[in-house]
């Protein structure tokens, strides 16, 4: 069987598994809450999702729309994760909100959330399958196999798992359910086929960049003094913050603190004294049932913690192996301009890979990077940023990665100034080449040398 077909089946399998599991847990949750009727808007939401994805399939959305959907998956994860964290706090005794929604309000909410939850994945996946079939230049087999994978998996899970609903429901409060949704998203939210079945890599990249930028902005705007010596000291210190996995540890801390606190409270928090005229035995019985319920509700949370830890540790080795860092090609200046041809027999600047060019300026070798962005334009930058020592960048899939601090930077953001982004160069594009003024290169390189990095003073 061709790899395309296998990939299509796996995608169908994955999407169906997600849908079936969410259906199962949601209906179990509703059963436990005695609100079974809310499954109807869920079904409508699923129906609407498929309708919309069918539409998107035929109107051939462009790269931009695809990109929006890819991002939407990440946002969905965060929305549900943050929702579950809030609900966890709520259920561990901190009163954040005090309301009980009735079904009239909940019906549209369930419908919208269902669409919000499934649409990006289903649309993204079906667009990916379309790309697969375009590559294979034969539509039917790819679609059919994806659809088979989907239907078979859905039927299997629904047939086997439906029976456990009563028991399953006891493990899920609203917090656990939202947490479950975000975990499903995290583990199965990727829409790039075999290249990225789960969302973990992109969530990690996104969060790391976020943390990194926040730390960086804070130091740049508030803390780094102008005195050269102090500046070096401070940047030395910040260097620790930017060292290979610091941001990842922060992420882990941020993500795991709420569930771990919840678990801690589940086991240690005092059980409130039951009210009313009861015998000691009756009170103990009520307390025992509260305790049992707390333990049950802790199971999905503990499971979540395990998944995060496992995926975090298993994700790290992978990144290193895919690191791409080409050797710079020497270029020379000609009448104050550096000219880089778009294509030559040995390379294609538009291939989406990172390209490096080196230029001798006095004692220094200045490196320039060029890479095609998802929107089709070329980004031209110095192989250095304003913060770290100019060790340059490598590439991991959709990101360039600072070699010094390992911060991944999404390629579409290249060309923006500041932060950990490579310093952008003004360049003139023609049909055949890129032209950069040497004076521009010199000026920016002097900035890098002049103490904006600690490397130089040493």
């Amino acid at each position: 069987m061709s790899l395309f077909i296998v990939e299509a089946v796996v995608i169908g399998f994955k999407e169906a598994l997600k849908l079936a599991l969410v259906w199962l847990v949601f209906s179990a949750f509703l059963l436990e809450q005695n609100r079974q009727k809310l499954i109807i808007p869920f079904y409508w939401g699923v129906f609407l999702t498929f309708l919309l994805s069918l539409v998107s399939f035929f109107i051939h959305p462009d790269l931009f729309v695809k990109d929006v959907f890819a991002r939407l998956i990440g946002y969905t994860f965060f929305v549900f994760f943050i929702g579950s964290v809030a609900a966890l706090y709520q259920s561990s005794g901190v009163r954040l909100f005090r309301f009980r929604l009735n079904d009239t309000i909940l019906r549209p909410v369930v419908l919208l959330l269902t669409v919000f939850y499934f649409l990006p994945d289903i649309v993204g996946s079906s667009l990916f399958i379309r790309e697969l079939s375009l590559m294979k230049e034969s539509y039917a087999p790819v679609y059919v196999s994806a659809l088979t994978g989907f239907v078979v998996t859905l039927a299997a899970v629904v047939a086997v798992a439906g029976r456990f609903r009563r028991t399953l429901g006891k493990f899920f409060g609203i917090a656990q359910f939202l947490l479950f949704l975000s975990v499903v998203k995290l583990l199965g939210g990727g829409i790039k086929g075999f290249a990225e079945l789960s969302l973990i890599p992109s969530v990690e990249r996104g969060v790391i960049k976020f943390v990194h930028d926040v730390v960086h902005q804070t130091f740049v705007f508030l803390m780094v003094p102008d005195h050269p010596l102090l500046r070096v000291t401070v940047w030395n210190f910040i260097g620790i913050l930017f060292s290979s996995s610091f941001a990842l540890w922060i992420v882990l801390l941020v993500v795991l603190t709420p569930p771990v606190m919840f678990l801690y409270r589940s086991f240690t928090a005092r059980i409130p004294e039951p009210e009313g005229v009861l015998t000691g035995a009756e009170k103990r019985k009520i307390k025992a049932s509260i305790k049992r319920d707390r333990l049950r509700k802790a199971v999905p949370v503990a499971f979540f913690v395990c998944i995060i830890l496992v995926s975090w540790f298993s994700g790290r080795g992978e990144q290193v192996s895919r690191f791409y860092n080409p050797k710079p090609k020497p270029v020379v200046e000609d009448k104050g301009v550096v000219i880089i041809p778009l294509t030559d027999p040995a390379m294609d600047l538009m291939d989406g890979k990172l390209h490096k060019f080196s230029l001798l300026r006095g004692e220094d070798t200045v490196v320039i990077i060029v890479i095609k962005k998802p929107d089709g334009k070329l980004a031209v930058c110095l192989d250095a940023c304003e913060i770290c020592p100019p060790e340059g960048y490598g590439q991991i899939e959709d990101n360039v990665v600072c070699i010094y601090c390992r911060t991944p930077i999404p390629i579409e953001t290249l060309g923006q100034k500041g932060g950990c982004n490579p310093i952008p160069l003004k360049a003139t594009m023609t049909d055949r080449d890129i032209r950069i003024d040497v004076s521009e290169i010199d000026r920016l390189w002097q900035d890098v040398r002049a103490g904006k990095t600690k490397e130089i003073v040493k």
Binding site: T279, G280, A281, E282, K283, R284, K285, K287, A288, K291
Partner: protein, 222 residues
């Protein structure tokens, strides 16, 4: 239907017939004594009422529940929540203290609550023996721990099989006075098996058994 209702219960062993068709009803909150010669089937009947044993024929209803219809798990739960037992031998866990023995019963029922266990021991007059092991207690004191343990989960029924069988007259009287006090406070139903006329006369009603049958059923006026 009465609170406890025993209908035509027969219990046959391979070698002997212990009960040959027993019918009895007990009202809620009563104290009933069962007397009769050794081997007449008193313990067998008590165990069947308590769900520790099942009849060969016939049925037992407690508070409307047919014990024969309960699964093993449901029976165990029913016993934990509704019935307390006191036997001639104390069956206390030898390496646990008085409080811990009472807390063990709480644990099997729901969760432990030391303050409540201490309070229960105070009520049976053992406030000064909380942290003694059974071997450090007299026979009468051990039986009082057993009573505290049997009543800790507020059962509706207390089943006592020769609870004073190992005690001298003075200790027997103390135990019976204690039971009388607790019974008047908490209104649980007592079925007490004994062969001792001094013990049986503390009840409100007296059943006499012989050869697997109830042969006499009389009210007692104290």
């Amino acid at each position: 239907m009465e609170f406890i209702s025993v209908k035509d219960v027969v219990k046959e062993y391979e070698t002997a017939v212990a009960l040959r068709g027993v019918d009895m009803d007990v009202e809620k909150g009563r104290w009933v004594s069962i007397v009769g010669p050794s081997g007449s089937g008193k313990s067998t009947l008590l165990n069947i009422i308590g769900g520790l044993d099942s009849p060969t024929k016939g049925s037992v209803f407690i508070d409307g529940v047919d014990l024969g219809s309960l699964s093993e798990d449901a029976m165990a739960r029913f016993r934990r929540e509704n019935i307390g037992f006191v036997f001639q031998q104390s069956h206390l866990v030898p390496y646990l203290t008085s409080v811990e023995n009472v807390m063990l019963a709480q644990y099997f029922h729901s969760i432990t609550d030391e303050a409540e266990a201490v309070e229960a021991l105070n009520r049976v007059g053992l406030g000064h023996r909380l942290h003694h092991r059974p071997s450090q207690l007299s026979g009468g004191e051990q039986q009082r721990v057993c009573i505290a343990r049997a009543l800790i989960n507020s059962p509706k029924i207390l089943l006592a099989d020769e609870p004073t069988g190992n005690l001298d007259r003075e200790n027997t009287r103390l135990i019976l006075e204690l039971l009388k006090k607790l019974h008047s406070e908490e209104h649980f139903t007592i079925i007490l098996v004994t062969h001792d006329p001094f013990v049986s006369k503390w009840a409100e009603r007296l059943l006499t058994m012989e050869d697997g049958r109830i042969i006499k059923d009389e009210p007692l006026y104290c």
